[in-house]
């Protein structure tokens, strides 16, 4: 009505034509009669009709919530569906998963407009389609019910909904006054960086970048040693011999998915198998996978490296540093490092010999949380030195395609920020992508400083620990709702596509910045973030990859593949860099410590705790301890025995003036003077799932000039009488001399490929099943498997496997369809650790099938053992009779998910009701899908045996996500299929072969590249 000047005006009555104010008022009233009184209040009856209608509307909206989210303005009936969406058919979109300073390509599966699954992107050369537990769990964080629904004003830790306009007004007002600081996590997105730079320039912002797991010390050491700060990329696939000192590069360490994918390529016993030696204090996943493993204190890590260097340079007289007097002087104190650390002197001598022999093809890695002691810088320098003298620099240490060239975090930026606040030079603070109140050490006192800031704007998706001390909450989109890009390695660009219309009234951080620049009068040519991103790509990335294509063609291709990189760059040889002797000036080493030390470590599930409210991650058992839903103080077996401590006993841990009470876990293979405590737990404001689970170990960290100190913290541990039971999903840790995981050394394997496998003579009265068409089978290579557990969460996501929680895990009610068993062998002080993924073995002679009284589990013509949920009455006889114990029972009704978590359910897989049995199906729905897909293809007809699928056309979720490709799935009736070839390998065996169940899953012996003997399972002596 206001713009009546521009438009023709049609009128209904003279009053309207006259624009009578009386009429205007009346026209705005929808109803002429109202039960409200003149002041708009409800009558005496209670609720007014309007309130009732509002409530009705709200509840209707709530109850109907969960349908496809469509753009608000344009509503299109589904009869004319968008051309790319076919109900019942999944769509796949390339995207990127960013987790702290780590990123890799993923493919998002969407159904009817909602993402339901994350898969690896096989075009990504760093992961080859491998995945991580966290990348899978990412889908659930999108549908986290505890996310805020829109912008909020926060007072006393409680948010109140406001409009974006109101928020923008307040923010811009404050921004205009200057003295603005921006605190972000690492920004791996080149276009976001550009935008942030513009923003910073507009408002004169001081930018602080901080991550709890900052690796700035790596860059600093690189600068000291080689003159240029880079984050080197480790080329595991080129390394014959890897020595890790405290680095958990396969588990929770930096870039573990890429590391696992690349390292495992060299772990095939038939090829040129690499060797891994680990020095560490806790039992990490990397240590569990080591060929040889030694226990040292974190404060002794430097001495290990220097001791090795001494043996090579001084004692061995090798390398170009052999005649360098300065180096000799530095190394001299480490002449007896081996003995000082309590090892046989031969250990260092032989390792040094081996390292020298493999020079140029070896790799020494340090770092991650256990390496973040006060000597972190010295440790990095020592490692750089070792790699330099071993001529690894430029070969296995790739400094040219350094990873994650994004805006990297600085470990000490929080100290700088605090100082800036205390100096009064921050009036407005914008916090994005990091939760410092939770993850900063308590000793920093950041919380008190923040009180001095006039306006804190936080872009988190909930009023969490940092949100509670902020004033305004400007919630960012979830990554899956937002456009983005990542420069994963130098010249590796990943694009992140939104796969769902934002669920709530959130706004991307980038759009917020653009809005604030605009509102304060700044000019901005691009309409919004999406256009900005495209413009950035057109200007900066497209030219180097154009190859004669238009930008649109290039862009479509990038979106399709999700990644663009220059292959030739990978292969380039950049030579090695000279090691600057000035670096030794920064090298320091303290006297060996005697007292107990605490190491704060990360778990591969929770890591920094940002995704702690995802139930899959809380339920996911730590790959080594196999404990879920808690953090706990890891102590060695000997220390626990000496002090009379019991598993689950609560202890008081005092460090840096902080005390926490945690239950105790006795961990095999841990150093006796070292205690371990995981960070990422103890969230107080993350949401229903995470709140109150464990204690916040970040609070215990110290601070040095390099940033937080997580390792070698002097600690006091006192036992209490309290007990907290720990939910360990594995009840027993020894194989009891049974042939379960067969292990052999590389030498044994080379002499006899079926080494250590005890084959049983089996005869049967019955003839075997005949499978005419396909016969599905799975091979699991235990040499490749690192036990990371990605398959467990992949399966959980694919098959709608419920989470049961700590109380029921303690009762043995876990629901995982695939589990990773972890066994220790030998001395609990220094055990050999093996892993074994166990899923339904799809036996030909399945013991479960014969005992079901209602025939709810039966055999199909392709060798699958099928579970018919709606026929099952739940006698659980099948589970009792299954020797692999892979069957899971729905003890309660697990279908009642908090909305909108049910949106993450896979519609291809039945959600099981209470009282029925369930188990791994070899992803039978994928087999059906694949058959349907190829039947529609031209010229595809089943052959005379009814076989239609080619090798590799079906992959179950576990095999697809496995970063090591340890799981191979295929058709046994195809003699050339990968799985057939795997089955024919001499090191293949069936689990519990003597029972003659004839499983369709076969395992390949775990081969360790070590000289230690491994023949434990031959002791049982049965025939």
């Amino acid at each position: 009505m206001e713009n009546s000047q521009e438009q023709k005006k049609y009128w209904l009555s003279l009053e309207q034509w006259k624009d009578d104010p009386e009429f205007k008022k009346m026209a705005q009233n929808e109803f002429l009669s109202t039960p409200l009184d003149d002041n708009g209040n409800a009558g005496e009856e209670g609720w007014a009709r309007r309130d009732f209608l509002k409530l009705m509307g709200a509840s209707l909206a709530l109850s109907s919530f969960g349908c496809v989210r469509r753009a608000a303005q344009k509503i299109v009936p589904y009869a004319k569906r968008p051309p790319e969406i076919v109900p019942g058919i999944s769509n796949y979109y390339s995207s990127a998963f960013t987790d702290g300073e780590e990123a890799f390509g993923v493919v998002l599966t969407t159904r009817e407009g909602r993402p339901i699954k994350v898969e690896g992107n096989s075009f990504d050369p760093s992961t080859h389609g491998g995945m991580s537990v966290r990348a899978h769990a990412h889908i659930l964080s999108l549908y986290d019910p505890d996310r805020v629904k829109g912008p909020q004003k926060i007072s006393n830790g409680h948010g109140k909904d406001i409009q974006w306009e109101e928020l923008d007004k307040k923010v811009v007002e404050s921004l205009k006054q200057g003295t603005v600081a921006l605190l972000t996590g690492a920004l791996l997105s080149p276009s976001t960086q550009e935008l942030v730079k513009t923003f910073n320039k507009t408002f004169g912002v001081e930018h602080f970048v901080w991550e709890p797991f900052s690796r700035s010390v790596v860059a600093k050491a690189q600068k000291l040693c080689y003159g240029k700060a880079v984050y080197p990329r480790y080329r595991w696939e080129k390394a014959d011999f890897v020595v890790s000192v405290g680095a958990d590069f396969l588990g929770a360490g930096f870039s573990a998915t890429e590391n696992t994918a690349q390292w495992s390529r060299r772990r095939r016993p038939d090829g040129d198998m690499s060797r891994l030696v680990v020095f560490e204090s806790l039992m990490s996943l990397t240590g569990a996978n080591a060929d040889d493993r030694y226990r040292v204190r974190p404060s002794d890590y430097v001495r290990v490296l220097m001791g090795l260097a001494y043996e090579i340079v001084v004692a061995g007289g090798h390398s170009r540093f052999a005649n360098d007097s300065q180096v000799k002087k530095v190394l001299q104190p480490y002449a007896t490092a081996s003995e000082a650390l309590g090892f046989d002197p031969q250990v260092f001598k032989s390792l040094a010999k081996e390292l020298w022999a493999k020079r140029g093809k070896s790799l020494v890695v340090v770092g991650d949380l256990p390496g973040q002691s006060t000597e972190a810088l010295s440790l990095q320098i020592a490692a750089n030195f070792l790699n330099s003298l071993l001529e690894n620099d430029g070969k296995t240490i790739d400094f040219a395609t350094s990873p994650y060239v994004g805006l990297r975090s600085q470990g000490n930026d929080l100290q700088r920020l605090k100082k800036a606040i205390d100096d009064g030079s921050v009036k407005t603070l914008i916090i994005h992508g990091v939760n410092p109140i939770y993850s900063a050490p308590a000793s920093l006192g950041l919380k008190d400083s923040l009180k001095k800031v006039n306006l804190i704007v936080y872009t988190g998706d909930r009023v969490d620990e940092t949100g509670a001390v902020s004033h305004l909450l400007a919630p960012d989109h979830h990554l899956m709702e937002n456009w983005g890009d990542v420069e994963a390695h130098k010249g590796h660009y990943l694009v992140q596509q939104p796969t769902i219309e934002p669920l709530y009234k959130t706004r991307s951080f980038q759009d917020s910045l653009i809005q604030w620049i605009r509102s304060s009068g700044g000019s901005f040519s691009e309409e919004n973030w999406y256009h900005y991103l495209r413009a950035y790509w057109k200007k900066h990335i497209y030219p180097s990859f154009a190859k004669g294509r238009t930008f649109e063609d290039f862009w479509i291709d990038v979106l399709h593949k999700g990644i663009v990189f220059d292959e030739s760059r990978e292969a380039q040889n950049h030579g090695s860099r000279p090691f600057l002797s000035s670096a030794w000036k920064s090298f320091s080493d303290r006297a060996p410590s005697k007292g107990p030390e605490l190491v704060l470590y990360a778990t591969s599930g929770l890591k920094d705790g940002a995704m702690a409210n995802v139930s899959w991650l809380q339920e996911f058992p730590d790959p080594v301890t196999k404990i879920s839903w808690d953090n706990y103080l890891c102590v060695s077996y000997e220390t626990a025995t000496k002090n009379g401590w019991k598993e689950g006993q609560v202890v008081k841990v005092s460090v840096n003036g902080q005390t926490v009470e945690v239950p105790l876990h006795i961990q095999a293979g841990q150093h006796n003077d070292v205690f371990g405590l995981a960070v990422g737990y103890g969230r107080t404001r993350a949401g229903e799932v995470a709140n109150g689970v464990g204690v916040n170990a970040f609070q215990l960290a110290g601070f040095s000039e390099e940033g937080p100190v997580y390792s070698a913290l002097p600690v006091k541990v006192e036992a209490t009488d309290k007990m907290i039971p720990l939910a360990c999903v594995q009840g027993h840790h020894s194989m009891e001399g049974r042939q379960i995981v067969v292990e052999a050394t590389l030498n044994q394997y080379r002499m006899s490929p079926s080494a250590n496998i005890h084959r049983h003579k089996i005869f049967s009265m019955w003839s075997k099943h005949e499978y005419k068409g396909h016969k599905w089978a799975m091979a699991v290579d235990l040499s490749a498997c690192t036990g990371c557990g990605t398959c467990m969460v992949a399966c959980q996501s694919e098959n709608n496997v419920p989470v049961v929680g700590k109380k029921y895990l303690l009762q043995g009610r876990q629901m995982y369809w695939i589990r990773v068993d972890r066994y220790y062998e030998g001395d609990p002080q220094d055990p050999n650790t093996v892993f074994m993924p166990v899923m339904c073995q799809q036996c030909d002679n399945a013991p479960c099938e014969t005992v079901c009284p209602v025939a709810a589990t039966s055999h199909n013509h392709e060798g699958l053992n099928e579970m018919i949920y709606n026929r099952c009455v739940g006698t659980r006889y099948c589970a009792n009779n299954c020797p692999y114990k892979v069957r899971r029972f729905n003890w309660f009704d697990y279908t009642g998910l908090r909305s909108p978590l049910h949106l993450a359910l896979n519609p291809e897989v039945t959600v099981r009701s209470r009282g029925v049995m369930e188990k791994c199906s070899f992803c039978s729905h994928r087999i059906v899908q694949a058959k349907n897909r190829v039947r529609n293809e031209e010229g595809r007809k089943p052959d005379k045996n009814g076989r239609i699928l080619k090798d590799g056309e079906v992959t179950p979720a576990c095999a697809q996500s496995c970063p090591t490709k340890a799981i191979v799935f295929g058709d046994m009736n195809n003699p050339m299929s990968k799985v057939s070839l795997k089955f024919k390998e001499k090191r293949s065996y069936s689990l519990l072969e003597e029972l003659n169940n004839i499983p369709s899953v076969r395992y390949q012996t775990k081969i360790r590249n070590t000289k230690r003997s491994s023949s434990h399972h031959q002791q049982d002596g049965h025939s």
Binding site: P853, V854, V873, P883, D893, R914
Partner: protein
Amino acid sequence: MIKRDALVLGNKTYKDISDDICRLVETVPGGKYFSLLFSAKALFILYIVTMGMIVATGMGLMGVNSPVGWGTDIITFVFWIGIGHAGTLISAILFLFRQKWRTSIARSAEAMTIFAVMVAGTFPILHTGRPWLAYWLLPYPNQRGPLWVNFRSPLLWDVFAVSTYATVSLIFWYIGMVPDLATLRDRAKHKLRRAIYGMLSLGWRGTARNWNHYEMVYMLLAGLATPLVLSVHSIVSFDFAVAQLPGWHTTIFPPYFVAGAIFSGFGMVVTLMVILRELIPGFKDYVTIHHMENMNKIIMATGLMVGYSYGSEFFMAWYSGAPFEEYVFLNRAFGPYAWAYWIMVSCNVIIPQTFWFKWARRSIPIMFIVSIFVNIGMWFERYVIVVTSLHRDFLPSSWGMFELTKYDIGALVGSFGMFFFLFLLYIRTLPAISIAEVKPVLSIGREREEHHG
């Protein structure tokens, strides 16, 4: 010639017998009876509430888990089914062997069978995840294909075995009661009572023809019921023996289970008879110490058989050389559930040895205590078989523990409530001793006495 003990004491006449037994049905019971009845009823209500909550919420309320998929429900099911066996043995096998002393206890022993099977029958249904669909275990023509049951599954054999057992026992019990029901009808003073007992007595006239047919049918039914004593528990044992699980997969199970069933059944009969003798002192003339001693002898004999089975299992575990089997048995005796195993051995093998002594066999307090121990021991036997085999089987990664929850306790204790409630109702509504069978044996053991008198 050895003097036979009198089967009925107190110089009864035929009328005395009818009066003694019918009086229970014809008079209003005293406070002692009602206090027992209401205690049993309270437990029965506990049972109904427990089971109702489990059906409403899920099996997860009980202690069962992975790997221990069967727990209290199956343990208690086997326990009650076992209890039932003594009744059939007394009424059918001892009848065929012309054991006259069985007459006074047969009726109640068989009632015990019926009630025990009723209680037992509720457990397998309620232990399923979806009890409302448990009828799918019955092979009936249906419109699902038709979709039939899996005839290879021992659980299905169980359905047949238990339902046959329940049916035959019920008919046998009822047919045996017909002449006595007619007696009650004839004595009834109230119309309604006469009508009810009249209907139940199926028009019994007591003619020679009636008796002729009756005895024929009774003998045939006894013949029919006899194999059931052996078959039912053999088939129940197949639930375990046919499985692949070490500790279950043994050929000794059928005879071992039958012996155990008779053992536990006689234990329960002794318990009940001691209670009955205390509750109704008049019964002491019918259920004499001599009867009790006979039953104690059977308890001792079967207890020895059970003990032999325990030993033999260990021998086979060692002799077979199967490592999983060896482990299970060592784990039973010395593992985390060793306490249960040794409770079982003490109660079932060691304690019944007191019955080597005649004074012990004839002492009411001692036999009561021993019979209670036998009941406890036999429950633990099934506990040991079910739990200790499941909790540690092939793959150590999946080993676990089993703990009873309050719902397990509720179901177990409550099932005794159901049993005793039914039993207590029975003794005041039906003739608890067979009038028709006791009268013919009245003379045994006292003929000479009468000559003198």
